[in-house]
């Protein structure tokens, strides 16, 4: 079989992938982008080539910034393959992907993983009821189809994205019953020490304050210090009520849709499947691949840029994509070290400014313990229906890590391959064993990292 070879294969066409493609193409590299989505933009700039909403005020100027990246990518000499689902990458950088029900393989001299973030799973009693969505899911509906969720609608959670989505839905005319803020008490004080550094990104801080003011003025009920979330079904087994606690008082609200959010974490499925080195980020409470300052991973030739390498936001992803692409071009002999440093100075400065605000945000919006180490009754693994209590029981039986609880309970063996339980299971085990999460580790992730049919894979053998 004759496998096409590219100088650079980029997985993902969000801000990191798009900017890397544009930069790398200026050096004449042969590039392909494998994008799981049907159009460029990633999650943040989803549908930017053909926005679903006419009123640009709803999604705001930050969304339409994506057009500049799109234009740059369009002018670049890049093979763009939308709808491509990468399901395996070998250590020799052979990449297997599925497109329109048919699998193919290509080979990369350098690989850039720009697969972005996923929302942190938010386990609490009742989180699997129909009607409970994540804020990200609501945003996908809004950006790709101009659809909004059914009222009465409640948002519950913590973090800047919660506020942004609340504001976007409000601008789109959706009636929001309440915003329940689960940020634990005392976080403002805790994050204060990171404020001076955050001031380096004053524009973003001001935007954040602006969102809060906008929501306040809108008259939406905003409740602070919410805890003990519990979603309750009606007679039709759909979400019907939300129970929660405020200042030790239990309250109940009717709702048809509940949007939850506890921040985003790097999508590490591919970097884990490749067995790259990972590290635990204590402030962000998540795993991320270990990278050098150019985004190169523990395996030479494999780079990671954007939120899949550590959460820093869309602008940081854009600058990191540019830096990484320059470094790749230099490694392929397209420019020397001196011009590399010169050509990346500006992006480096901008990246630094973006990263400066993170510790402040991360300290402020670290999820409350009830979402990191949920109560015994809470389902942790949705695919195989395993509860937090069952995981605790297995630790008592001697399981020291998530691969052992997986063998004992099937937690993490379902179609999502642990995307929705990996963090929680490791946190629970660490908590029970009274050791740091980094000592507990993570699931061994197996290929294919996305399900595909036996027929499709069998055809590769012919």
């Amino acid at each position: 079989m004759n496998i096409p070879v590219y100088d650079l294969v980029i997985i993902g066409a969000g801000p990191a992938g798009m900017s890397a493609a544009a930069t790398a193409s200026s050096h004449g590299l042969k590039i392909v982008i494998l994008d799981e989505q049907t159009a460029p933009g990633g999650q943040i700039y989803r549908s930017i080539s053909n926005p679903a909403i006419a009123d640009e005020n709803i999604l705001g100027a930050d969304y339409y910034h994506g057009r500049s990246l799109l234009t740059a990518m369009r002018y670049a000499n890049v093979d763009y393959l939308p709808g491509s689902i990468v399901w395996a990458v070998s250590p020799d950088l052979s990449i297997s992907f599925s497109r329109a029900g048919k699998s193919s393989q290509i080979k990369a001299k350098k690989l850039l993983i720009a697969t972005g973030a996923q929302e942190r799973p938010v386990p609490f009693p009742g989180w699997t009821l129909p009607g409970v969505l994540t804020c990200g899911a609501a945003q996908i509906l809004l950006k790709s189809s101009g659809l909004t969720p059914a009222a009465p609608l409640i948002l519950a959670g913590s973090g800047p994205l919660l506020l942004l989505i609340a504001a976007q839905l409000n601008r789109a005319g959706v009636e929001i019953e309440a915003i329940l803020d689960t940020t634990p008490k005392g976080r403002y004080l805790k994050s204060l020490r990171y404020l001076p550094a955050a001031l380096r990104n004053l524009p973003l801080l001001i935007k954040g304050v602006g969102l809060l003011v906008e929501l306040k003025r809108s008259g939406i009920r905003y409740v602070n210090n919410v805890s003990q979330l519990k979603a309750l079904p009606g007679s039709n087994q759909l979400l019907s009520k939300l129970q929660y606690s405020v200042d030790n008082r239990i309250e109940t609200s009717s709702c048809t849709t509940l949007l939850v959010h506890q921040g985003v974490v790097p999508n590490v499925q591919l970097t884990r499947a490749l067995q790259l080195e990972h590290q635990w980020d204590e402030l962000q409470q998540c795993w991320k691949p270990s990278l050098d300052s150019w985004g190169e991973s523990s395996q030479a030739g494999i780079f990671v840029a954007g939120d899949s390498g550590g959460i820093a936001g869309a602008r940081a992803a854009e600058y990191m994509g540019e830096l990484t692409a320059q470094r790749i071009a230099q490694q392929l002999g397209k420019l020397n070290k001196e011009s590399l440093l010169k050509q990346t100075a500006k992006a480096g400065r901008l990246l630094y400014q973006q990263q400066a605000i993170r510790p402040f945000l991360d300290a402020m919006y670290q999820p409350a313990d009830e979402f990191l180490k949920p109560s015994d009754e809470t389902l942790v693994c949705r695919c195989e229906e395993v509860t937090a209590g069952q995981i605790r029981g297995m630790v008592a039986q001697g399981c020291t890590g998530p691969n052992q609880t997986k063998a004992f309970s099937r937690a993490g063996m379902g179609p999502c391959q642990g995307r929705l339980c990996g963090l929680t299971v490791a946190q629970i085990i660490a908590d029970e064993r009274k050791v740091p999460v980094k000592d507990v580790g993570y699931y061994k992730i197996r290929s294919p990292i996305k399900p595909l049919t036996i027929g499709e894979i069998a055809d590769l053998a012919e």
Binding site: Q404, M413, K444, R446, P448, I454, G455
Partner: protein, 374 residues
């Protein structure tokens, strides 16, 4: 993690090295003999052949060049129903043992003839008592109507079966703990020292003492055996297994390449590669397994693959087990094989009894490591 601080808690009649299905089965049998047992096991990221296997309780074709191996495999299969029942009575966990027979499908006429000839030789070696049948495609379809047109036929072994290996592992762990056994998985044992009263075992986490010691650490036995005057010339042999989504039951019998679990999950596998200590998966092997399985059962083409894994079989040069007592250091035993599921009932029964009493009626002399040095 269980940690024991005082010295008296770090003593046991028998220390079993390895908490996989081999170590656990032997440990349960030793407890049945009234002995106090501690299992010393590695942590979360050990190689763990027990968690990567296919779950077959298989007889047909096993031991084609060693009749004693064929005999102990059959004996174990016969003991299995009782073993599974005891685990269920003690823990409530049903390991989903099913022994209604198994099929080995062949994709070409020569392959089928060759297999028939092999099983016929085994029947002769067993003095005529070796049940199997050869089926053509039409006969096979009476067992499994979904067999594809490219299948030449199959061999049928009425004593074959399968179970859920993860539930088996779990049931044995629970039963072992119920009976007061201890599992310390704080790390790999690096040193075994024979003493006047038994053996001292050392890991990074501390020291253990056992009057007797059983090496059931899979590939880890290579380094451990020489310390007690034994030898374990084992090599890893990789098998890759594909796991598919749950589908409506269609495979009422396990086959050598494909089996369907009680929940409907499909497992595809049986690759054999000599790749050292690399338990990874490769696209070309996965594709070959998928291709062959979909020739056998064309309906598999539309079933989704959820994940694939590689696991390392624990292989001796001739593929047969090692059961050996140390002559130099009485009280040290080596138990290792690549068919821990099939031989599970044998390990819990006659093998554990042999270790507890130092007597056995099994033909164990053929399973010692001297066969590799002669």
């Amino acid at each position: 993690m269980t940690q024991f601080s005082t010295d008296s808690q770090r003593r046991a009649d028998v220390c079993v090295l390895g908490g996989g299905i081999v170590g656990l089965a032997v440990a349960l049998g030793l407890q049945r003999n009234g002995l106090s047992v501690t299992i010393l096991d590695e942590g979360d990221s050990a190689l763990r052949a027990s968690r990567g296997n296919f779950g077959l309780v298989w007889v047909q074709g096993k031991g084609d060049t060693l009749p004693e191996y064929a005999a102990i495999s059959r004996l174990s299969a016969q003991l299995w129903a009782n073993h599974a029942q005891q685990l269920k009575d003690a823990t409530g966990i049903d390991v989903q043992l099913q022994q209604r027979g198994g099929l080995f499908l062949c994709l070409s006429e020569p392959e089928l003839r060759e297999r028939q000839a092999m099983l016929t030789r085994m029947r002769v070696a067993a003095g005529g008592d070796y049940p199997f049948e050869t089926l053509d495609l039409q006969q096979l379809r009476e067992f499994i109507p979904e067999a594809g047109p490219e299948v030449a036929g199959a061999t049928w072994g009425p004593e074959d079966g399968h179970l859920n290996p993860l539930l088996y592992l779990r049931a044995m762990t629970e039963h072992f703990l119920q009976r007061g056994g201890k599992i310390d998985n704080s790390g790999k044992i690096s040193r075994i020292e024979p003493t006047d009263s038994g053996f001292t075992l050392t890991s990074d986490a501390g020291q253990w003492h056992g009057d007797q010691v059983v090496l059931a650490a899979g590939l880890g036995n290579r380094d451990l055996a020489p310390q007690v005057g034994l030898s374990a010339p084992l090599v890893p042999n990789r098998g890759q297994v594909l796991i598919c989504e749950r589908v409506k039951p269609f495979l009422n019998y396990p086959t050598g390449h494909v089996r369907q679990t009680n929940e409907g999950t499909l497992q595809l596998g049986d690759s054999k590669e000599d790749v050292g200590f690399d338990p990874g998966t490769t696209t070309d092997v996965i594709a070959k397994i998928a291709h062959r399985a979909s020739q056998m059962f064309p309906l598999l083409r539309d079933v989704r693959l959820i994940r694939a894994w590689g696991a390392l079989r624990v292989m001796t040069p001739d593929g047969y087990p090692l059961y050996e007592a140390s002559k130099q250091y009485p009280g040290a035993y080596l138990v290792t094989c690549h068919s821990g599921v099939t031989l599970g009932a044998l390990h819990e029964g006659p093998i554990a009894d042999w270790i507890a009493s130092d007597r056995t009626e099994l033909p164990l002399e053929v399973f010692n490591a001297k066969r590799f040095t002669l």
